[in-house]
Amino acid sequence: MANTQQLNNLAEDVREEGLNQGSSMKDLVFDPITGDFRQVPRGTHHGEGDVVTEMTNKGFAADTVTPIVYLREDELQKAAKSLAKKNYIPAYVEEVDEEGVFHIRLKHQISKIPMYLEIPGIYTRDESQLSDVRMRGCRFCVLLKDSEPEVWCRPVSPAKGDNWQRGNVFLIPSEENLFSRSKGILEVGILKNKRVMIVGLGSFGSQIAIELAKAGVGSFALMDFDRVELHNLSRHTATVHDLGRLKTNVIEEAILGKNPYAKVDKFPININEDLPLLYNEVEKADLVICATDNNTSRFNLSKALVEKQKIGIFGRAITRAEGGDVFRYRPGGPCYCCLVGAGNLQEEEISDVASARRDGRIAAYVSPEDAEAMVQVGLSSDIEPICNMMVKLSLVELSKGTESGITSLEEELIYDYYLWANRRERHYANWKPMPNAGGMPTILRWYGAKIEKEEHCPICSQAIRLEGDTDEKVAGLDDIEIDLQ
């Protein structure tokens, strides 16, 4: 292992090679008189022909384009400290594309391309990993001089004149600065310490997760056992490249893409089948988003919220997303069961046959053809407003007690239940057109309602009363024997 002096010498060598490189570079110029290309030293061309920039850069003189390199500020700071103890920085190139843009991680490999980055001459090369570097054609060298990073790059198999070239380095800000643009509106310092649990990562949950990550929420628990399927794509944040992947993995990636400092715990499970885990995670969360597509999971979550005294935001779309609603549970207030017990069971949107079959929303006797006909998904733009309201309610709840730009929303969003209509169809057929609606409800506006707490709610009341609890006795059964086998 080299000592600090050797490292410094190497740094100087690489720097010098790079600085000398400019003089050896050539431009390819088309000469209209001869009809040929000819090479001229860079900077000596005086207009008697066109510089064939693209071919110059990507063809004969490949890899001479100045690379753009992104480094993470926090990792650089840690690397600077570790350099005092070690003479090399283990690192990986996270993303390489055809645009000369490179994301270099100085810590762990978190993504797809297992590339090895070395400081030449100092670290013993692993040949099997080096082959990946060759495939990509570039080798990188990160130098830290007084904690200031320089990144140098050259082809793996350099031709004559292909020297180390200094890249343009951009820093991805550290955690405290990443969301500085939101300051004044959101208390990002508060949000980064909040944990949000999202149950259901479909078209609702996926968008909400990403919005909350963009707002600076620092910790997530993601629950969904489903994988991305073709029919998801029109409304989900996933892309065709994600087909077949677990939604928990896809959304984790999306969250970290927005906030690389977020903590994400993934649970690819059916919450109805692991209630101890559900309760445990609800307890750890500051707020729970319920974005599932069936009432069984909503009831289970509702019970967990009541028991653990946590805030929950429920959202759903009704048939073809002609409208939808949002319900907020606050400890001590009416629960989701109080809402549906009050006759608010809506004919929900069925967006997926397999899921609807699984929980009985499409009965087993419905033929495959009829089941397909029951799938009535709405547009992504129709569920956006509902997701948006869920996000706003979440941010208000998470920011409560702090002065921020959204504090005033606490005076607006006082209701337990919010109703939204996208089109004047079915449930909303009698609503008035937006112009001149007068005192009548109309579409594309939020309406709020206070929900009464049910005195005998089976989930949130201490004095439950069950349906069917009357005084009549069932006669004629005194002498029967029931089958106990």
Partner: protein, 144 residues
């Protein structure tokens, strides 16, 4: 099902039925295996059936309800498949399964007794079907 709910259900059934007509299984704390209720039913014609209510997921999902044998329809066929006309779902364990509540109309406030009442109604209509040959949905509306 948690303890409070179990006590409420048992209390309600105890007021409705004689002790010999129903029994819960595997409800004690720490018990393993399926939690279920067996409950007797006598139709107006005097026939006796035993209903098996599977309580996994109850009360946040509707219980599966079976008649503890394979019933035959008026043509002598096993009632073992999901049928909209007969208000049945796919049989399990060789038992006919009754379709009673759909998920859209289910709430945790519905008691096992109320489920029983719907199934008792189903049994009456089943016997009417045996007498007339008319499907059950001639008598019973669909509820989702």
């Amino acid at each position: 099902m948690d303890k409070d709910r179990y006590n409420a259900e048992r209390s309600l059934l105890s007021r409705k039925f004689p002790a010999n007509a129903f029994r819960f299984f595997n409800m004690e704390e720490g018990a393993s295996g399926e939690q279920y209720l067996r409950i007797g039913a006598r139709t107006n014609s005097g026939n006796v059936y035993t209903l098996h209510m599977s309580l996994d997921g109850f009360p946040f999902a509707q219980p599966k309800v079976f008649v503890t044998r394979m019933l035959k329809d008026s043509k002598g066929n096993d009632m073992n498949s999901a049928s909209s006309a007969m208000h049945t779902l796919s049989a399990e364990r060789g038992w006919t399964r009754i379709c009673h509540y759909g998920p859209a109309s289910w709430t945790p406030a519905v008691s096992l007794y109320k489920v029983y009442v719907k199934c008792r109604l189903w049994l009456e209509m089943y016997e009417a079907h045996l007498r007339t040959g008319k499907p059950l949905d001639y008598y019973l509306n669909h509820q989702y």
